[in-house]
Symmetry: C2
Subunit: 353 residues, 2 copies
Amino acid sequence: MKIAILPGDGIGPEIIAQAERVLDVLRSDGLKMETEHAPLGGAAYDQYGAPYPEATQKLAREADAVLLGAVGGPAYDKLDRPLRPERGLLAIRKDLNLFANLRPAILYPELANASTLKPEVVAGLDIMIVRELTGDIYFGQPRGMGVNAQGEREAFNTMRYSESEVRRIAHVAFGIAMKRNRKLCSVDKANVLETTEFWKEIMIEVAKEYPQVELSHMYVDNAAMQLVRNPKQFDVMVTGNIFGDILSDEASMLTGSIGMLPSASLDQNNKGLYEPSHGSAPDIAGQNLANPLATILSAAMMLRYSFGQEAAALRVEGAVKKVLAQGYRTADIYEAGCEKVSCSGMGDAVVAA
Amino acid sequence: MKIAILPGDGIGPEIIAQAERVLDVLRSDGLKMETEHAPLGGAAYDQYGAPYPEATQKLAREADAVLLGAVGGPAYDKLDRPLRPERGLLAIRKDLNLFANLRPAILYPELANASTLKPEVVAGLDIMIVRELTGDIYFGQPRGMGVNAQGEREAFNTMRYSESEVRRIAHVAFGIAMKRNRKLCSVDKANVLETTEFWKEIMIEVAKEYPQVELSHMYVDNAAMQLVRNPKQFDVMVTGNIFGDILSDEASMLTGSIGMLPSASLDQNNKGLYEPSHGSAPDIAGQNLANPLATILSAAMMLRYSFGQEAAALRVEGAVKKVLAQGYRTADIYEAGCEKVSCSGMGDAVVAA
Ligand SMILES: CC(C)[C@H](C(=O)O)[C@@H](O)C(=O)O
Ligand SMILES: CC(C)[C@H](C(=O)O)[C@@H](O)C(=O)O
């Protein structure tokens, strides 16, 4: 098993270092893994002048899985659009055909206070958002800025989905629903957008192959509302790239601890890119303050989805639960009575556990 | 002052009836207003076979303001796309050029418990969302379903904004920020979408004309998160049609009482359409259970924005505050110790106040 490690920018290198220590433990216990590093995003721009340079492409394509820290930071904000760090992230997703983005929103009982929602509304929250990641308005052509028929400046993007794009993400979502509570909510804006009306039709067609799964449909504006009103009504949600971007961030914030949430982006063959749901947090970068748990849990998702190592994945997740139960907290999830630890201190605790 | 009254579908006629009673009180106290009714949405389809028929167009164009209940319901779900109730709503917005949608999200202190968020997070919440309403992917061409170059079925929509469209909504938003706390947050996805990068550039240009207003920018995914994390950081937000649809619903649900929230959709000359933020609630239609306060408060917005009758608007808003303080509650906002009233019962209370 070959893992491409892309630390990225900001707190990326710090949190990745802790995840690697956890992988080292598994390796010393006999799990075979090779790791190799390459830059992505701003770090790649600094070294090679491009956010997804050839060296990184080569490594990422060869590897069985990619473990990513985070990309971006104010130092790169003034760069031309194609050079910016986020472009590296979008490029690697597209290049590796990572169309299925899985973003769990789980409330850890030990961190229940971190949520801004009332305890009774979020207790036990466990949602899996399945977001399509290589289509939609993110990649649709034509796009750009120009001058319209009236001689006025304008800009435009194209939301677009083909049947096969919707079908394959539908199968991923139904597959996950089958392994969970067999409830799937597809989110669209079919009352306004033909693209999502089409999306909805295909979801209904694919549903015939999964008669045990109860499929429901919700408009995106209502979904944004229902996530606040009663998030526990949801189990698995599936939606397009842009709606998924918005709703998965909203859902993860319901738990109050986005520093805890991993994500996976998979291709057709379970090759995947794994990264924390949070960003590169430039404000605390280099200070050994970041929470490495989302990255460590992303490594656990990697073991599960790309390597089929369920036992190892559970071992890592168990260690994370244990350190939380022991009261270890990085600054972002700290509350009185707990033990405040640094990024590497949290790594120590997980390794020990 | 001529008002076109469009009760619409579901609970629309019930809530409109209560708002009309409130307007009657003002009229009997000397405020000059003419009202005339016409159908919109499903009701219009039933009567004329179209969701925005000519009779309604004529009345709406002649009137100085439009007061709308709500449109839509399951009875119309099977209709062809162009005949559905929502199409009537989209058509009247476009026809009257109502490009500026103002959607306040206010927490009423008397209803603080209705929020799913912790009291300290939402106490005093008062956000104004300014949503562009006649452009963006809602109306952009080309759009539709078809077959792509690979012979596969696909569907597409176009997100599009011209300079003048962004400028005019920017001026509305900055104007409102000037009357409030001079803080404006523009929401975009400039890291991915050229359309919103263009939007952001124009916001920055227009900001030069309002040096007293502090303009900030936020990505839409982060905004969806920040609304949950710390909504009180926002004062006025401005965004495009689709992001505004999602974020304004999310924001209104933070207050826990969407049955209380009005909205205004204005053209260049303060002609406006006023409607509650909530929908047509077909499940409780015809049962005299709905909360008419959002519609009554929409009428107050109409008095303020379209008729410049600030005193009358304040009088209506004051009456609503009074009935809340008196403990009157419709079912949606009921809590123990209060007096549960029907839709018309709430109307009685406001009229009395
Ligand atoms: C950084 C950005 C391009 C990216 C996205 O919009 O997909 C991020 O928000 C995410 O969700 O991973
Ligand atoms: C009914 C629908 C077309 C409409 C919209 O998307 O604009 C509604 O959600 C709203 O926000 O007024």
